[in-house]
Symmetry: C2
Subunit: 440 residues, 2 copies
């Protein structure tokens, strides 16, 4: 070998430990990071009610609220009590449940709404007003000075009732930065508990989020809450970057349900956060409840769990390619950043297909309690791959091939004289292996 | 009002234009950005074949390859020809189709694989080897010097055949940075077409991706390709940040199918990119074909399109809350960053629910070609919300309520004497409105 290889600076395998305890943890240069200290505001009963299919009866709302509380969310946000008469009654009913989670309701920045909200028994009120040019022109038609005036009136009124108050802009990422910082500075000075940033249309990208939150952190002393829609697939990542920049609270919904295709999903965010802050996440939230909560909400709104859902999608912990299966069998961390057991889920090695490898088949041979040498396993693997080229396989197919192969080996009198004869029977689509399966 | 309000610095609405032509476009400070100049490597027929449910017949592979080519992907990546005999034949068959897209196959960093790959007729070979401590220990068991030696041999062999060569590490984000940069520098000097970064386990976060790609850009002169798994929900965002940092090519699959819960989805990435680079994306890719391609692949692997899929999920362009509906009717940009028409999709205003508002109902009244004053629309909206509090509504319910209301107004002789009488009939679960619907 010539030049290029010599240019490669040979390195010796280092035995020194990693520089950082958790290399996927908070970036040490993010001094304001709340990756290890975040809170969840679940909005399934507010944003989630705006999902196309949602109609939650009082009983279903209570069931969902209790499940979320049991899981450990910090806040539960409810539909505005002025949305409808029943919405107000349901809000009052949930406030009376005595949950550990604080109960919030979400209203427009109007005194009419605020007066009703503070009488429901909630622990806090989330106030929102559109600040983008689009919303100011086509929704409420008010300028920033009017917005500031309304905000101050509503905030001071809610504070006078002794409950929490959050002020959020809407469509923050299409709002003028100076306008935004100006209004946040104003409401921070009055003394709100939180200010909110909302990517109402789902246009924000992660580094934009980081920059805006970091800038806002230099303007306000209160907590920052973030609300990200998922129209362009970045909601979870945006939430993570917001926490890195110093946001404290993230709005989530079960399965992400909400307007259009929704917001940050509770389960997906847990998948993201457990990688970065495993101890914090596992000590605070009952992760093995995620599947039940998702099924509860999916049933209520009549959707299926997406096949590719983080954590609970049917194949989230299924390994298929031979090279993956081999390594997973040796050490699951090779191809898994999430441990399925943390979520009450199980790992599955998909060995019944043409991409399988002999290590995966060897594992199956061991499960079947059969004795084959490595060379024999390689031989039977070739047969399995050959049939896998012809049609989809199931576990029974593979087991039949393995058992037939083993039987032939252990009963030499019946063994065909040439290897070719044995293989012929596997070439057929409806060969013995599959026939056995079908007549079971 | 006292202190706080006076602190708010009054600003006048500015009439000056935005500083940047597209505020959601590439960040001007990302000098190396390829957000406006990216390419797609579709791996549905390689990574996607590793999805739990996948079994693609030759005919289905050809149908998918043609559809992807028609859509406009730059490359189509196929399963290794050494995976199985049929895999090799299928690879050869697809190479003979004469597609515009370049055909790649994906192999281990072994001469055994490379010798087969170069004979299939592919335009290029994607070589991969695990570089993380995990994979080096539990998968192939080789050190970095062995990896470099194998890489050089395979690369020089493939180059000698006059076809494209990519060298990728596997599990790049859990590999030692010095090892990584060292091997990339080595292969870049030999003259590969691309180097690849792979987040094989889905652990990477967006700012980590940006940093690694930016660092790599200072080490290599060739193009950078990125491959992101979606275990923690960040695949699309990571792809975007990689392009911002100067990566050129992104691996995608239709619906994101792949090992575990898959990789960057083609449709989701298009949703992300059209916001940032609308002209580039619309001129290069046939976006209105996304739905058909997704349906083709979903049928082949027997999954449903996730309810919350970007662009093609059933509710991606459905607006429900009254305040949203009002603004959307005035200007869709208020609550939409994506234009459904760009994808051959339609917008839908969901007005048959208790969160509805009078602007949405007024729009429906107009569609029904009925004349009602604003006050009358508000009155009938209250009725609709009242029934919506009792049970889920459909469009027929709302239309019946509106038509009944209109009929009563226009036939004063039959009008009940008190408003209460009219409302009573709407209180019932099986009132006239719903009965009409059910007996249709």
């Amino acid at each position: 070998m010539s030049g290029p290889q010599n240019d490669f600076q040979k390195v010796h395998e280092s035995s020194s430990g990693p520089v950082q305890a958790n290399p996927y943890g908070p970036n040490p240069s993010d001094f304001l990071s709340n990756v290890n200290n975040f809170q969840l505001i679940d909005s399934t009963l507010r944003e989630g009610e705006q999902f196309a299919n949602s109609f939650f009866s009082t009983e279903k709302k209570i069931e969902i609220a209790k499940a979320l509380d049991d899981f450990g969310v910090d806040y539960i946000e409810l539909t505005s009590p002025v949305a409808s008469e029943q919405s107000r009654k349901d809000c009052e009913a949930i406030c009376k449940l005595g949950l550990k989670a604080k109960i919030l309701t979400h209203i427009r920045c109007h005194m009419d709404d605020a007066r009703v909200a503070v009488e429901t028994g909630v622990d806090g009120v989330d106030v929102v007003i559109g600040t983008s040019k689009f919303l100011r022109q086509y929704s409420h038609g008010k300028d920033m000075n009017y917005i500031a005036k309304s905000a101050i009136e509503v905030i001071e009124f809610v504070k006078s009732k002794g409950i929490e108050i959050r002020f959020s802009s809407e469509d923050s990422f299409r709002s003028d930065l100076v306008d935004l910082l100006n209004i946040y500075k104003t409401v921070n000075k009055i003394g709100v508990n939180r200010v909110g940033i909302a990517d109402t249309v789902g246009c924000a990208n992660p580094r934009q989020v980081y920059e805006l939150v970091r800038t806002l952190k230099s303007v306000v002393s209160c907590d920052i809450e973030c609300h990200f829609h998922n129209d362009t697939g970045c909601a979870i990542a945006n939430a993570y970057c917001a926490l890195e920049a110093g946001a404290r609270l993230i709005d989530v919904c079960v399965l992400g349900i909400g307007e259009r295709n929704g917001i940050v999903p509770l389960g997906g965010l847990m998948a993201r956060m457990i990688v970065a802050a495993p101890e914090y996440v596992k000590s605070k939230y009952k992760l093995h409840k995620i599947r039940d909560i998702e099924n509860l909400v999916a049933d209520a709104v009549e959707v299926n769990i997406p096949f590719n859902n983080p954590i609970t999608g049917f194949c989230a912990f299924t390994h298929k390619a031979g090279i993956h299966a081999k390594a997973i069998l040796a050490n699951p961390s090779t191809y898994e950043i999430l441990d399925p057991h943390d979520f009450g889920m199980k790992r599955y090695i998909h060995f019944a297909n043409r991409l399988t490898g002999w290590n995966a088949i060897k594992s199956r041979v061991d499960q079947l309690n059969l004795n084959l040498t490595d060379d024999q396993v390689k031989e039977v693997t070739a047969k399995i791959k050959k049939l896998g080229d012809v049609r989809p396989l199931n576990i029974d197919d593979v087991d039949s091939i393995i058992k037939d192969f083993h039987t032939e080996l252990s009963t030499p009198m019946l063994k065909p004289t040439s290897a070719k004869d044995r293989e012929d029977s596997l070439d057929l689509n409806d060969g013995p292996a599959s026939k056995k399966t079908r007549t079971k």
